[in-house]
Symmetry: none
Subunit: 411 residues, 2 copies
Amino acid sequence: MNAEIVSVGSELLLGQIVDTHAATMAQVLAECGLTCQRRSTVGDHMERIVATLKEAFSRADIVITIGGLGPTSDDLTRDALAEAMGLPLVLDRDVESHLREIFAVRRIAWLPVLGRQAEKPAGAEIIPNANGTAPGLWVEANGKIGIALPGPKSEFLPMARGEVRDRLGRLTRGAVILSRTLRIAGLGESRVEALLGDILASSNPTVAPYAQPAEVHLRLTASAEDKMQAEKLLGPLEADIRHILGNAVYGADDDTLEKAVLDLAVAFGASVSVAESMTGGLVAQRLTSVPGASECFKGGIVSYAAEAKASLLGVSEATLAAHTPVSAEVAMEMATGVRERLGTDWGIAVTGNAGPTSDAGGRPVGLTYIAVAGPDGVSVHEHQLRGSREDVRQRASQWALLAWRNAMIES
Amino acid sequence: MNAEIVSVGSELLLGQIVDTHAATMAQVLAECGLTCQRRSTVGDHMERIVATLKEAFSRADIVITIGGLGPTSDDLTRDALAEAMGLPLVLDRDVESHLREIFAVRRIAWLPVLGRQAEKPAGAEIIPNANGTAPGLWVEANGKIGIALPGPKSEFLPMARGEVRDRLGRLTRGAVILSRTLRIAGLGESRVEALLGDILASSNPTVAPYAQPAEVHLRLTASAEDKMQAEKLLGPLEADIRHILGNAVYGADDDTLEKAVLDLAVAFGASVSVAESMTGGLVAQRLTSVPGASECFKGGIVSYAAEAKASLLGVSEATLAAHTPVSAEVAMEMATGVRERLGTDWGIAVTGNAGPTSDAGGRPVGLTYIAVAGPDGVSVHEHQLRGSREDVRQRASQWALLAWRNAMIES
C-alpha cells in the first residue's frame, strides 16, 4: 500500500512557514511500513485542492491532508476531500453538540460558521481532537482511504503520532520498513561509494549515501513482514559495511560526532581540553553541546589574537615569529600548552586561516593545522579546507574531533 | 507568470529532513512577484521525477527543482529535467575542466562519475556554484523555464537568494516586490506587536512579524512599478518602526546580532574577550564567525570545570564555595578576570545551568548569569531561560551579546 501527503495552506506556498508536519507525517508512514512516493502542497483554493487530491488518489491508496480544517472561509479541505472522493458533505450531530459544549465552556457565542467543523464526507469516522475544535477525519470509499488532519501543531502531532499511526499500523498488518543510518567521517562520498561497490546496488535493504558537511550518511532501509525479519536483513549488511569502512563509521542514527567522541573518551576514562584559534570556540561548543560533557571536557582557550597564544597558552614568541601563527609548530605548542594548563590527558589545538582573505603571513584561506597532544606526545595534521568561512570552520572542527578520536583509538 | 517548486530526495519522503529549502524558494518567488500554486516532493526515482516535472510544466511557466544534482547514482534530477523538457543531455566542457581543477586542488583523483556534474540539458545556462561542485542550471525551451538547484544548504542558499532571484526578478520586468527584514532583539513578539499597533495593519508595505529564537524579525514588503517606487514606500515606514522600537532594532536583512555588535565595537574602537561556562565557547564562536572579528575579539576562556574558573580566570575559591559556580558573583569575577587576562576594554562572562538536570548546587535548568566588565566597572543580569539544552545555550549567548551591546551604547 502506498500513501501520499497533501499539505494545504497558502502560507506554505509563500514560504512564510516551513512544513515540518509533512516530515512528521512521512516519518509516521515509514514507521507503519507504508510507502510514500509523493508529497504535494497546495494553497487555500477549492479547485486546486480538489485537483491535487484527485491526482493523489489516482496514484495512491491512502491520501492524508494536513491543514485547512478550521471554521473560516479559507478552510476548504473538508469540502475538497468530500468532492474528490465523490461523497456528499453531511453534518455530524455528535460533533456539533460537542463543539457547542466547548464554546459554551469558553463563553463564546455559537455562530453558524463554527458548525462547519462538524461537517464531514458522508460515512467518515471522527478522529477526536483533544487540543482543539476541528476533529480529524478518516474516510473510506471506493477502495481508497482519505485522512484529514488539522494544521495547528498541538492538534496535529497527537493525532498523527497517536490514533492515525495506530490505525495505519493495523492496516499494514505487521509489514514494516526499518531504516538505519550509519554516520561516516573522514572519507568523502565518492570514496565511500568506491569502497562499497556492489553493496550500493542492494535492493533489500537499499543503501543510499547522503553527503553532509564533512560527513557521509549511509541509509540502509529494509522492508519485511515484521520487525524481526527486517532486523535480520539489516544486521548482516550493516556488519559488512562496518567491516569495509572500519573506524570511519563513527556512529548510527542520531549520534553526532561530538557525542561519539565523548562516549569514547568516557570509555577510556580520558579528559580533554581544547585550544582554538580559527574555529574560535566551535570545537569546545560542539563538545559541550553533549549533555554530561563535563565528565571529560575541562575547558578551552580561544587564543584568537597572536598575543593570546603566548600569554594564555605559553606558545613561544620565537615559534610565532619563525613560523607565523598558522603553522604546524604553533599548533603543537598550543596543544601541549592547553593540555598542561588544564591538566588533562589530551589537548586538542586548531589554528588556520578561515578567510575571507589570505592572512598577514600569506597563508591561503582554508589552510589549517590540527594538533593532538596526549600521553605519548603530540601529532599534527595539515589540511587544505574548502568553502565559505563557515564551511572552513565547520570542517576544521570536524577534523579536530576526528584527530582526537583517532589518537584515542590508536593509543 | 507562475512557478512551481519540485523538491527531490527520498530522505524528504521518509521524513528524515525537513524541507526548509522549499520555503526559502517560495519566499524568493513571492519577492519576485511570481505566483506559486503548487509544490511537490518526489523521491530519487527516475520515472517519478520525470512524471512530476512534466505535470508541473503542464501547469506552470517556471519549474524549479531542488536537490539531486550530486555525482552519485541516485542523483537523477539533471537527467530527469532533460527528459521532461525533451532535451538531450550534453557535456559542458567548461564545467568539466573547472571540476577537474577543483578536484586537483583538493588532491582527489578524478573519477568518471564526477563528470556527471558537468552534464546539462542541451542549451542550458550554467549558474555558478561558489561553494560546491555541482553547478545550478537555467534551461529555457518551448516557452518554459526549468531551473535546477543543488540541495546542500551552503550551495542552495547563495544561488537561490543570488543569481536565481536576480534572474527571476528581471523576468517580471520591473514590477517589483521589495522586502526588508528588521531584526529585533531583547523584546518578545507580543511586546513588538503591542508597540507597533496599527502599523501591523499596513497593506502596502505589509508588515509581518516572525518569532525567531530570542529574536523577532519584522518583514516589510512593498509592491511597486519599480525599485525606486518600492524604496519610497519602504523608507518612511522603516523609519517609523525604528523610531518606535529604538535600540531594539539591531540590524536589517542578513545582519546577525554578532555582526551588529562587532560593527558597533569597531565604531567605538573597543576590544573584547569572553569567559564562558554553560555556553562552552558558543559566544566566542558566534563573534569569530564574523569576518574581521580579530579587530575587536582577542580571545576567550571556556572555564567549564569549576577548577578552570579558578586557575584560568582567577575566580576566588571562596566565591566559588560561598555562591556556587552558577551565581552572579562568579559571573562578575569571570568577566573581570578575562578582561584583565586578555587586556581588553570589555570582558563578557556567562555561567549557568544548561541542563538537562538541576546542577550539584540545586540551580534549576535555564538559570543563567551574564556579566559585562568594562571601563566603568562590572554589571550582571540574571535570566531564567527556557527550552532544550540547545535552546538555553543559544538564548544565553544571545543575551550575552545583547548585554555587551547595551553596555557599549550606554557607556
